[in-house]
């Protein structure tokens, strides 16, 4: 049955049957040779000599054609009821196609052929009417076959025959001739009145058996040689096998005869089958000849005699119309409708003349419409019930015939030879529908406008065929009907409708698959002997444990899957979004590069606007998966589930997503178990959101240093003040931010955090997640993991670089369970790229929400192809990836132990203690470089204060001094070891100085292996790498001694002298102090005094020490009890600093480049400040304080740096420029040269006689390093009681060389008793009054009252 050809009613059907051991390709080859004869001219048909068979033979010189069509399927048995109604549906001829080689004998071939034919067509079946077997000779040297030895019903076509085609044509013509002859025989038997009764007995009668008919007059004529072997004449018809065919009715009745029917002379008395007599005749009492005429019409149409056919059809229509035999009437109409097409084809000229104002096909169309409506109504009759399947088939085919008519005219661009050709022969080929599918809408419209047939009208016609009655159809017929509909819809460009019908086709096919599987399953259980099953039977016992696995036939699966994919595609689901790849294929370099092309939308994160009908899509996906499962094609199941998950997950419900995911997982594992090598690509979008290398722990972090820092010795630049140029000053934060490139160490594992994304509602399982790197080889392990639903999930991956060099981290290789690993690269994005992406994104977003394309054209992949903007500007620029430098293997040091308990130090202020730290080299590399740096809590605030620059010069100096000269921790690099061999332990001693305010500190050890053995002579590296080890120390500093009120006092003779006198009776301590204070020349000395307070709970012994270059060192010690203050006094020899020394500015200890003098002091003020500064510095060099725990062993320094020096103290401390000594002397006589006696004095008081002349001698000594011209001013108070000679002011002293002295003498008489003060001021000549004073002297005179 081939419903796709319009003129199927006019085609003689010939079944091609492979016979014997013919191979498929050779059968195809010869079959196509035969198939090339689509029609045979009537003139070529050889006439049959027999008279009674000549009825359908063509007239000589007739111009028509016989049309042939070939099938390779036998008709289904359920159709046998139609054998009279529609002979064109049956194979009228049967051709066996066989090949023969040397070994075969022709009789074997014939036997095979006959056996096959008997199998296909049970005995008693009317058709085929003629048979033949073509034996094609295969090889040339086939000499064994005797060509002359012909068997009946077998034709040998020798291989050496030149033009086989002509021969085959002749053979076919012979066959047709036979068929036409048999037509006559058939008609003969029906033309009898009894035959006519048979014909009218039921709606679809069968040709009665010869046994049931009386012998005709010419029954003595020889039997047809080509008839199938009939059963013996006496046997009953095999009713059991033909049970579906309505049995002929047994009523004898005289019928009114038609014009051309010969009278039926005989009645037959012995009628079979009384069992069915009960049934009433639905047709009525009188049988008309309408059906017979229609049958004749059918046969004439087949015989190519259209004129005769049209005559008989017209007769039949006339008769069948009035007693309404709807089905036959409709069939006659169909036949009538076919005739014009056949005629038109034969004449091969263009427009048929019969059309006037109407379209030429309108008439045919009307007829068919009539037939269709009649078929559809036919079932309402009470006889209809039995015939539902047949009626539905007829109806469907009529509708398809009509649709084909319209479609052929439409697609052939009008009524013409093309259309006829198509209708007669080709039908609807698949290429045809495909070409139409690719046509644009405009082109399809053009076809419509040319022909005047709109697509919608064809579709409307075709839609009539679709309805519940399809279920009546026999399965194969149903499938072919649905297929025809689908391809017609497809050819019309109605893809949604095509998909709709295709779903039904699938339903049919899959139903067959499922049912067949159930049957074979049961059959397998019964019939043992297949593969494993047989073995199990032998073993017997363990049968239950042996899995029975059928070898599925995969034939056809692919086509089914293709249909499924097509349906899904029409509905906007890309079932190939996830590719199936061969699981054995490895990722090679070429593929890697190809895969770096990234999916734009996934990067951009722009969501596509949805296409399609979500509800339908989900339903279709479910069905697609069910189909794939039923086949079964497990990789496709997985592909479908995963593809739809990927593309539809935004609209899917949770349950669906979970279901699909588990289905996919199950299918994949099944496929794997079954040894399927195919696997699915990675599907779950783009899993990697970001990647980041975790810096190694600080202990392991290598820090890159240039080699040059080693050669440059520690310069005078003090690193602590100048900032971070020094390599060994530790600052973790700075080093992290400063170094953009992180460093890794060879052979040491590092960690990497990848953030994975799971947009689905289920936990996504990844069977492996591995790093994808290039450059240095690494050692890493792929890890399986589960990404929680709907989340971003960070994962830590550990890897180990095996060599030094640059490591590029491209991304991750991800593998889903049962899938293929896929690399996802993660390039670093540049600004340019970001910008490009942003532009692209905005372009896409701009289009979202606008519907430029509607319907199927708006499916995502269609749209993507059409977007022009920016699509071409794909950058060819290479991608950049995360890069890390891997350095050579580094040694590793650890702190084995320290001398601290709990890492804490407790100190008194100023105390120094030591910490012993033991390091151990735990690596296999030696360490040849070891440096310690320290940090403590006082450094940072001080540095900050310095950096702010708000401090005065003086404070700055103090702060800097504190930082540089009194660090909390110190370490002597020279005395401590530098080399640590592998496994060795070294002890490093760190000094610790107690400094108030320090609460914590840290030691940092930098170490490295610099001087490596080099394997090659390459240039030594410019850099080396160190590692650091930190050890935090808690510091507690007790503040126990406070110094304050520093003072420097002059020795004034009158006050001090009595104190200094030693008294043997005084206690020892007093004597010691007096001894201390006793100096030779009080003018050269001053007294340094300071108060020390003990704020702590323990008494301390405080010692102050004086070390001056020109005086012997002394020390004074005092015990300071807790809570009390002790004043400590020590004499200090005056000193004078050189002018150059003093004029230096206050130094800054750091080498900060610009020290802007912020002070706006005058030069004089500045000078005095400098003097203060320098003298103070000098003083602190001379005087040092120390303390010692009373009764303990702890000792330390006592800092004086808190103390300030005032101008007065400075004056006292500094040696005067000119020293003035004043004496009172008396002479024995007036003569100036006489002996001079000093006036008696005591305790600094001079006691001259009143009213007697004494001489006031003033000795001026120039102590300055330069010569001075000095002037002396004297004053005597009270002046009114003093008589003196000369002037008191501006007494010239003269030029004094350094160290030179000069004496000025003045006679004085005190004229009253009492106290007098004499002072002398030495001025430098020529300078202003207030600044010129360079020296001073004083004298106290006490004049006792003498008793008169």
């Amino acid at each position: 049955m081939d419903p796709m050809t319009f003129a199927s009613l006019a085609q003689i059907r010939i079944l091609l049957l492979p016979v014997g051991s013919i191979k498929r390709p050779s059968f195809e080859k010869w079959a196509s040779e035969i198939r090339s004869f689509e029609n045979i001219r009537l003139g070529d048909i050889p006439a049959d000599p027999q008279e009674d068979k000549a009825r359908f033979m063509p007239n000589p010189l007739a111009s028509g054609h016989i049309h042939l069509t070939y099938t390779s399927h036998p008709p289904s048995t359920s159709h046998s009821a139609l054998s009279v109604f529609r002979p064109s549906d049956f194979p009228l001829g049967l051709i066996g196609v066989a090949t023969c080689s040397k070994d075969d004998s022709l009789s074997d071939v014939l036997a095979h052929f006959n056996a096959a034919r008997n199998e296909l067509f049970p005995a008693g079946f009317t058709y085929p009417l003629a048979t033949n077997c073509f034996v094609f000779e295969e090889s040339d040297d086939n000499t064994q076959l005797n060509l002359g030895d012909t068997l009946p019903g077998l034709v040998v076509i020798p291989s050496m025959m030149g033009n086989k085609k002509i021969y085959v044509g002749t053979l076919l013509a012979d066959l047709c001739s036979n068929i036409l002859g048999e037509f006559a025989t058939m008609v003969q038997s029906l033309e009898t009145p009894l035959g006519n009764e048979y014909l009218n007995a039921s709606m679809f009668p069968a040709i009665p058996h010869a046994s049931e008919l009386p012998k005709s007059l010419d029954s003595d004529s020889p039997m047809r040689s080509s008839l199938p072997p009939l059963p013996s004449f006496n046997s009953q018809p095999d009713l059991q096998t033909r049970s579906k065919t309505p049995t002929p009715l047994g009523l004898k009745r005289n019928s009114s005869l038609g014009p051309n029917v010969p009278p039926a002379p005989y009645r037959h008395s012995s009628l079979p089958a009384p069992a069915v007599k009960k049934r009433t005749n639905p047709i009525g009492a009188v049988s008309s000849h309408g059906r017979l005429f229609k049958f004749l019409g059918d046969l004439f149409l087949l015989a190519g005699r259209t004129m005769d056919a049209s005559v008989w059809y017209t007769e039949a229509v006339a008769i069948l119309k009035s007693p309404q035999d709807a089905v036959w009437y409709a069939s006659a109409l169909e036949g009538l409708a076919t005739i014009p097409i056949v005629d038109a084809w034969a004449s091969t000229q263009s427009i048929n003349g019969l059309a006037g104002d109407k379209e030429p096909w309108a008439d045919i169309s009307d007829k068919l419409n009539q037939a269709i409506s009649m078929y559809s109504r036919a079932a309402s009759g009470n006889d209809g019930e039995v015939n539902f399947p047949i009626l539905s088939g007829l109806y469907t085919r009529a509708v398809l015939r009509h649709s084909m008519l319209l479609y052929c005219v439409w697609s052939a661009k009008g009524w013409g030879p093309h259309a006829f050709n198509q209708m007669l022969q080709s039908g609807l080929s698949s290429s045809d529908s495909n070409s139409n599918k690719n046509m644009s809408d405009a082109a399809l419209e053009r076809l419509s406008s040319i022909t005047g047939i709109s697509r919608s009208s064809i579709a409307a016609t075709l839609s009539q065929a679709h309805g519940p009655w399809l279920l009546h159809l026999e399965i194969r017929e149903r499938i072919s009907a649905l297929e025809a509909m689908a391809s017609l819809f497809g050819a019309l460009g109605y893809r949604r409708k095509e998909a709709y019908i295709l779903r039904e086709v699938l339903g049919c096919i899959m139903d067959l698959v499922v049912c067949a599987r159930e049957e074979t399953g049961s059959a397998r259980v019964i019939g043992a002997g297949l593969g494993i099953q047989g073995v199990a039977m032998v073993n017997g016992l363990n049968r239950g444990t042996v899995g029975v696995r059928e070898n599925d036939s995969r034939i056809g699966n692919e086509s089914v899957i293709r249909i499924v994919k097509y349906i899904c595609r029409v509905h906007g689901i890309d079932m190939e979004a996830v590719k199936i790849v061969d699981g054995n294929a490895q990722l090679n370099a070429g593929e890697r590069d190809a895969e770096t092309a990234l999916d734009e939308t996934e990067i951009l994160g722009v969501s596509h606007e949805p296409f399609g009908w979500p509800e339908l899509q989900v339903g279709i996906v479910r069905e697609a998966i069910a189909v794939a499962e039923a086949l079964p094609d497990y990789p496709s199941v997985a592909q479908f589930s995963l593809s739809s998950l990927r593309s539809l997950h935004p609209v899917m419900s949770q349950g669906d997503q979970n279901h699909l995911y588990s289905t996919a997982a199950r299918a994949l594992s099944t496929a794997k178990r079954r040894g399927d090598t195919r696997a699915v690509d990675y599907w779950a979008g783009r899993p990697i959101a970001s990647m980041e290398i975790l810096p190694p722990p600080l202990v392991r972090l290598p820090i890159e240093k240039p080699m040059s820092v080693l050669s440059q010795r520690r310069s005078d630049v003090v690193p602590i003040l100048t900032g971070m140029t020094d390599p060994f000053l530790y600052n973790p934060r700075k080093s992290m931010s400063g170094q953009g490139q992180s460093l890794l160490v060879q052979n040491e594992p590092f960690e990497l955090v990848a953030t994975l994304r799971n947009p689905f509602v289920f936990d996504l399982e990844l069977s492996s997640l591995a790093l994808s790197t290039s450059g240095v080889p690494i050692e890493t392990k792929a890890i399986p993991m589960i990404v929680p639903a709907n989340s971003f999930h960070p994962v830590t991956i550990t890897a180990k670089p095996l060599e030094a060099g640059v490591l590029t981290i491209r991304g991750c290789i991800v593998q889903a369970p049962g899938g293929v690993p896929k690399e996802f690269v993660l390039p670093l994005s540049t600004d340019e790229e970001e910008e490009k992406r942003a532009r692209r994104r905005s372009a896409i977003e701009c289009e979202v929400g606008r519907s430029k394309r509607a319907g199927l054209a708006s499916r995502p992949w269609e749209k993507a192809g059409k977007r022009l903007n920016g699509a071409t500007s794909q950058s060819t620029q290479t991608l950049r990836f995360l890069q890390v430098k891997v350095v050579l293997e580094q040694p590793l040091l650890r702190i084995r132990r320290t001398s601290l308990t709990h890492g804490a130090v407790m100190l008194y202020n100023g105390e120094t203690s030591t910490i012993r730290v033991t390091f151990e080299n735990v690596s296999s590399l030696p360490i040849d470089f070891l440096r310690l740096t320290f940090d403590d809590s006082t450094i940072a605030p001080a540095q900050q204060a310095l950096a702010e620059g708000e401090l005065s010069v003086y404070e700055t100096y103090e702060t800097e001094y504190d930082l540089i000269h009194r660090p909390v921790f110190t370490w002597d690099s020279k005395r401590n070891p530098q080399q640590v061999e592998p496994g060795e332990k070294v002890v490093v001693v760190v000094n610790c100085y107690g400094k108030v305010g320090c609460i914590s500190g840290a030691m940092h050890v930098s170490y490295s292996y610099i001087h490596r053995r080099r394997a090659t002579l390459q240039e030594p590296q410019e850099v080396f790498h160190t590692r650091q080890l930190s050890y935090p120390v808690l510091v507690t500093v007790y503040h126990m001694l406070e110094c304050h009120s520093m003072d420097i006092l002059p020795y004034s003779i009158d006050t001090v002298a009595p104190i200094l006198e030693l008294d043997q009776h005084e206690p020892q301590s007093v004597r010691t102090r007096k001894t201390l204070l006793n100096v030779e020349d009080v003018a050269d000395w001053c007294i340094f005094s300071i108060e020390v307070r003990n704020t702590y709970g323990v008494p301390f012994e405080v010692t102050f020490e004086r070390t001056q270059p020109d005086a012997e060192s002394t020390a004074t010690t005092a015990l300071v009890p807790p809570g009390s203050t002790t004043r400590i006094v020590i004499p200090v020899k005056k000193f004078r600093l050189l002018e150059e020394h003093i004029s230096q500015p206050i130094p800054t200890l750091s080498d900060r480049q610009f020290v802007v003098a912020k002070s706006n002091l005058t030069t004089a003020e500045e000078r005095s400040q400098r003097e203060l500064f320098w003298y103070r510095e000098q003083l602190f060099k001379f005087v040092r304080g120390r303390w010692k725990e009373t009764g303990g062993t702890r000792y330390g320094d006592l800092s004086l740096r808190q103390q300030r020096m005032t101008q007065i103290m400075l004056e006292t401390l500094r040696t005067e420029t000119a020293r003035v000594h004043m004496f009172l002397v008396q002479r024995a006589s007036e003569d100036p040269d006489s002996e001079v006696q000093p006036v008696p004095h005591h305790n600094g008081k001079w006691k001259p006689e009143p009213n007697a002349f004494v001489y006031l001698q003033t000795l001026v000594t120039n102590l300055s390093p330069s010569p001075l011209s000095l002037v002396l001013d004297l004053s005597l108070e009270p002046i009114q009681h003093v008589v003196f000679e000369g002037v008191l002011f501006d007494i010239p002293v003269g030029l004094l060389q350094p160290g030179e002295s000069k004496e000025v003498e003045m006679p004085v008489a005190f004229i009253t008793a009492g106290r007098f003060d004499a002072t002398a001021d030495v001025r430098v000549l020529g300078q202003s009054h207030d600044r010129s004073k360079v020296g001073q002297g004083a004298l106290r005179i006490a004049i006792d009252v003498v008793d008169m």
Binding site: G467, L471, G493, R496, A499, Y500, E504, C515, G612, L616
Partner: protein
């Protein structure tokens, strides 16, 4: 008798669906061929075929009294959606040639007749109905269009936003009651 209304966006996504059961009796006669259908297989795929070919609704119609309970309402709904979707093929073709917004009885499939209404924004209103009621359907479509335009006045509403407004729903239902 039931009506099924779908408002389809230009990308074939339904924005609104309505099933309206009217009290009017079904007056169409189903084809006699559709009666007495065999139940030839019980596999799931046969079910699909039965549903898609319209057989399930046909049997339902014939065995309405005392017959099997309406089986697979969801399935039928799926079929109706399939039919509506498939009819877009015809609608798209016809709308290209005709100027009218209202395309009456543009397609017929199984027992359903499809009428459509195309807005200038390429929204398609598709109505599946069983009996002819051209004027009523036209009036109904115009009503729905007005309601739709009012919904579209919302600046946050695009051509692809599903319509979830209860007011819209209630008014469409009222209109359906009035005209269908």
């Amino acid at each position: 008798m039931s009506h099924h209304l779908f408002l389809l966006s230009p990308s074939d996504t339904p924005l609104y669906e309505l099933t309206h059961y009217s009290s009017k009796p079904v007056q169409t006669t189903t084809s006699p061929l559709a009666s007495n259908l065999p139940s030839w297989s019980t596999s799931a795929f046969a079910g699909t075929l039965t549903a898609l070919s319209g057989a399930s609704s046909a049997t339902q119609a014939h065995h309405i009294q005392g017959g099997p309970v309406r089986m697979g309402g969801g399935k039928d709904r799926h079929v109706i959606q399939m039919i509506a979707n498939a009819s877009l093929d015809v609608i798209e073709e016809v709308m290209r040639k005709e100027n009218a917004m209202y395309l009456k009885s543009v397609d017929k499939f199984n027992e359903w007749t499809v009428s459509a209404f195309i807005t200038p924004g390429n929204m398609k209103f598709v109505l599946l109905h069983e009996s002819r009621n051209d004027d009523g359907i036209k009036a109904f479509f115009v009503d729905v269009w007005e309601l739709y335009v009012k919904t579209m006045l919302n600046p946050f509403h695009t051509a692809h936003t599903p319509i979830r407004s209860p007011v819209f729903d209630a008014r469409v239902r009222a209109s359906a009651k009035k005209y269908l």
